[in-house]
Structure formats: structure tokens, C-alpha cells
Amino acid sequence: MQVWLGFAMLALVFWGITGVTQKLSTNAISSERSFLWFCWAMVALSAAVLVVARPHAGLGAAVMWSAIAGGALNGLGAWTSFRALESGGKASIVISMISLYPLLTVGLAVMFLGERLTGKQLIGAIVAIAAAILLSLEASPQEKVV
């Protein structure tokens, strides 16, 4: 197995577990307070990371600002997704819709980073997005559950 795929699967597992822990959290407290403590955990993790991190002065501005923007964009995205749900959007529709975000990443990566997908990978990307949407849909009362 390719090394990058192993790490991608690891991310998938960690984020998958957060789907359960986040639900357990918001069952007890508001989504804002939950998000705030999520951020505090990020700060704690970064403090732990400081032990092994070797920040150096020679970081390029584009790289540094991209990393900072990563945190801001991901955090803001989480916040806007909460707002979408609180603004009356049905969870099944909102979550299915926001599952489309990798499509934008694929498009931008092809346009700006010159990445190229093989035919198999392109089908894989489309199937992945379809899978993410189907997984996010809650079973209707009429639907047979297994």
C-alpha cells in the first residue's frame, strides 16, 4: 500500500470516530460550546506538538499563510455548517450538500496545481462523493433497516 494512502485512511478513521464523539457532545451541550472546546483541544494538541515541532524562520510566505489559512478555512467551514443546520436546513440535505466539497478541491487542484486524474481515479472521486452522500442520509421510517 502506498504510504500516503495509509495516512489518508488513518485520517478517515480519526475523523470517523469524531462523528460519534461530536454527537455525544452536542447531545449534552450547545454546538457553539462544543465547537469552542473542540478548538481548545486543538490548542492542547498544538502545545504537545511544540515538543517535536521545529519551527524555523525560513518558511516561505505562501507556504506559511497557506497553513494558517488551512486552519481558518476548516474552522469557518465547521461553523458555517452548524449555521446551515440552525437556519432550518434539513440535516439530510445540508450534510449531503456539503459532502460535495471534495469536488471543488479536485477542480481547484486540477486548475491551480496541475494535478491530473486517471480515468479510474476520476470515477473513484465521483463514486466517493456519491458514497459520502448516501452514508450521510438517515434511514427514513419506511425504509427497511438492517
Partner: protein
């Protein structure tokens, strides 16, 4: 009716904003992966999160509702654990990009994380799956196979 018409664009707007923000996040993460290691990225990522944290912290403080202390402790515990696991997921996601994974492949693979949530919910929360979710689970495995080809 009028209220419905006014409300619809609002959730749609927030949903589209989410797609744009997370879609861009995949792109900037790949750009960052060409110059920083996974640990420095985590530090900078948290720095990027700080302004939003201040805003949300102010909102929570201003609208602080009276919550049951025990319930609050439980909620905070799970939220904190979510943050730690989410952060570890971020580290792995970034490492996948550093190790040569392309943003156009890593983003769709990692977006399949609901498959793990669904499996855990079945095992630990005793939730039951509908046919659509079983189909989604099957498609997720097919997608991983195709994307890793």
C-alpha cells in the same frame, strides 16, 4: 410561506459557504505541504483557528445558557475528545499530502470518513442502517479501491 422563502436561501447560502471553505482548505493544505512539516502545520493551523475561537468564545459567553453542571462536564469531555481526534486526523491528512498524495485524490478518500462513523454508530450506539447507507458503505470501498489505483 413567505418565511419559508426567506429561510431557504439562508441555509443554502451557509451550505454553499461550507463547500467553498472546505474545498479551498484541501487546496491550501496541499500548497502548505510543499514547505512545512506536519507538526509546524498543526501549529500554524491552530493559529488560523484562533480568531474564530475568540468569536465563538465571545458568543458562548454572551449567550451562556444555564446548563446542568454534570451534563456540561459530559459534553465538554466529548467535545475535547472530538478536538483531539480531529487534530490527529488533521495530522494524518496533512502527512498524506506531504508523502505525495495529490489533493485531488486525498480529499475524496478522506471525505469517506462517515463510513467509519456509521460502523461505530452501529456497534456502539446500536443504531441501525438503512439500505441507502449499506449501498453507501459498499460504494465507499469501491471508491477507495479506484482512487488508490
Amino acid at each position: 410561506m413567505g418565511e419559508q422563502i426567506r429561510e431557504r436561501p439562508l441555509w443554502l447560502l451557509w451550505s454553499v459557504a461550507t463547500i467553498v471553505l472546505w474545498g479551498l482548505w484541501g487546496l491550501v493544505s496541499k500548497i502548505a505541504s510543499n514547505g512545512v512539516d506536519v507538526y509546524v502545520n498543526q501549529l500554524l493551523y491552530t493559529a488560523g483557528l484562533a480568531p474564530l475561537m475568540l468569536f465563538v468564545g465571545w458568543t458562548v459567553w454572551k449567550h451562556s445558557a444555564k446548563e446542568d453542571a454534570k451534563l456540561r462536564r459530559t459534553g465538554i469531555f466529548w467535545a475535547f475528545l472530538t478536538g483531539i481526534l480531529g487534530g490527529l486526523g488533521n495530522l494524518a491528512f496533512f502527512q498524506a499530502l506531504v508523502k505525495g498524495g495529490e489533493a485531488s485524490i486525498v480529499a475524496p478518500v478522506t471525505a469517506l470518513f462517515p463510513m467509519v462513523t456509521v460502523l461505530l454508530a452501529v456497534i456502539f450506539l446500536k443504531e441501525r442502517l438503512g439500505r441507502t447507507q449499506w449501498v453507501g458503505l459498499g460504494l465507499a470501498f469501491v471508491a477507495i479501491y479506484l482512487l488508490s489505483a
